[in-house]
Symmetry: C2
């Protein structure tokens, strides 16, 4: 499998689906729809929806349903970026190489654009095509848990904010990474599989794969923040060290962090080694996540 | 029916349910759970959950299911209050007689507390007890639409913000009131009925009742902003006029606005005049909403 063209093709499908599922820019009130679209189409790599797609397709899931699900989680991810970038939180001016939402539309509209994307995400989840109601309900529940306060995205962000400038310890670091980024990445893999009707054993294996790959993703993110330029990252580089964020390289050094990422990726691959050729996209994706440079 | 004791008893039941459904204050990360609870338990009248309860019980719905649904919409309402009060939006220091969430916990935590309450709302909706999955999915979809950007709560807030200081016209005023407050109030009545298995005709009548009572609620709110003191309202009075908000009294005068509210309330009651005694709570609630003084 050529991962580059797989990623490019998947991104195109997902962007097309997002285009259809987001309110048009000329629909009133136009400002909020412009702000939502500005951030959603600001050059994201679509890692989360591609995980949904690759996981669901490894189980023979319906592509249209998985694209809707993927688009929904990308809206969720984008809401979290918009709110995290706000002056009261991370105060970031640059995201994916572009000025952040509040820089372009003002703080009020950025707060509301984040709110709207979360709202639209749940509406899309409740209206997933070709998916049983019992599965939709479970997906809404899993996504809400993964993005909530207890071991979820918001919980991770709270602890991250509260730990800035404090001495780093490995327990807190793991909590932050597991919750802030890992939980939603794992939920992407799980929900893709649920939408495709995976059985409990398959779901367990994919959860294991997802949580390991989620951690790899975050460790690599931490490393890139140190080793890459802002231009390559499309966001302000070196920021973690400046605000003394708890990161893997800060705690273990860059080389040990790299080794941890490689070991985790190889362990993630083992979780799905009894899956057939249908899981090749998922395997390539794991390779890509551990070796990415931006 | 003694409406005062009905309201007090319902509020107690709803507060008990919110107590059970919100994460405990000592659960980590504690700060965000404290912020969520601070705003949810800051003395709200629970109008929305009581509408859910009265509507659902008029159709013979299960009380436990309706309480969960009511608690979820109250979380949604509270998220909208927390975000609306932020400095970047309405910049309000006082809400329900208490300092607003960002005044107590800071802006970052207030933004995240709002996000968390919306997230928890959807999780509770997806996990409603004793409700069929097909109904849960429909409720998630209706609540998301009622709080979204197109004719929903966020859309109303956007137009409200954009209209401040502009000349008022009746079309924009109606859009704001219908979307910002009316849509969720109507959804409360509709979803209560859906949870209770209402048939399409009953649902239509209750929707009509809900949208009229929603508008009454907002007109009375506008009037009280002028005629009441901050102390009675528990929020900053006279603020609408100060920031030149589009309101019914500003456009039509206080007396004409009062008459509109009374006419609408009587028309709302007509929509449900063929309902039996089970709808008496709903009828008393309509009377209460039109005659309230705080």
């Amino acid at each position: 499998m050529d991962i580059k063209s797989y990623l490019a093709e998947s991104k195109k499908l997902i962007d097309g689906c997002l285009e259809r599922l987001l309110p048009p820019e000329d629909e009133a009130p136009a400002t909020i729809h412009k702000a939502m679209r500005y951030s959603v189409f600001a050059g994201g790599k679509r890692v989360r929806p591609i995980l949904v797609l690759a996981s669901g397709e490894s189980m023979g899931g319906d592509r249209e349903a998985l694209l809707h699900l993927g688009a929904a989680v990308e809206m969720m991810h984008t809401y979290s970026l918009i709110h995290d970038d706000l002056p009261a939180l991370d105060n970031d001016d640059l995201r994916r190489g572009n000025p952040t939402c509040h820089k372009v539309f003002g703080e009020a509209m950025a707060i509301l654009a984040g709110d709207s994307l979360m709202t639209r995400c749940y509406q899309v989840l409740a209206e997933l095509p070709k998916i049983q109601d019992s599965v939709k309900v479970r997906i809404v529940s899993e996504i809400a848990a993964a993005t909530g306060t207890i071991n979820g995205m918001i919980g991770g962000q709270v602890v991250d904010l509260e730990s800035e400038g404090m001495p780093i310890n490995s327990e807190i670091l793991e909590y932050i990474h597991h919750s802030k980024t890992g939980a939603l990445l794992t939920a992407c893999v799980r929900c893709g599989a649920l939408a495709a009707g995976a059985n409990p054993e398959e779901l367990q294996r994919l959860s294991d794969f997802g949580s390991k790959i989620g951690l790899v993703f975050q460790i690599v993110d931490d490393i890139l923040d140190i080793t890459s330029s802002s231009e390559m990252l499309g966001k302000t580089a070196g920021k973690d060290e400046k605000v003394k964020k708890a990161t893997y390289p800060a705690l273990y050094g860059i080389e040990a962090s790299r080794k941890m990422a490689l070991d985790l990726a190889s362990s993630a691959l083992k979780s799905i080694d009894n899956f057939g050729e249908g899981a090749n996209a998922l395997r390539s994706l794991a390779q890509f996540i551990v070796s990415r440079t931006a």
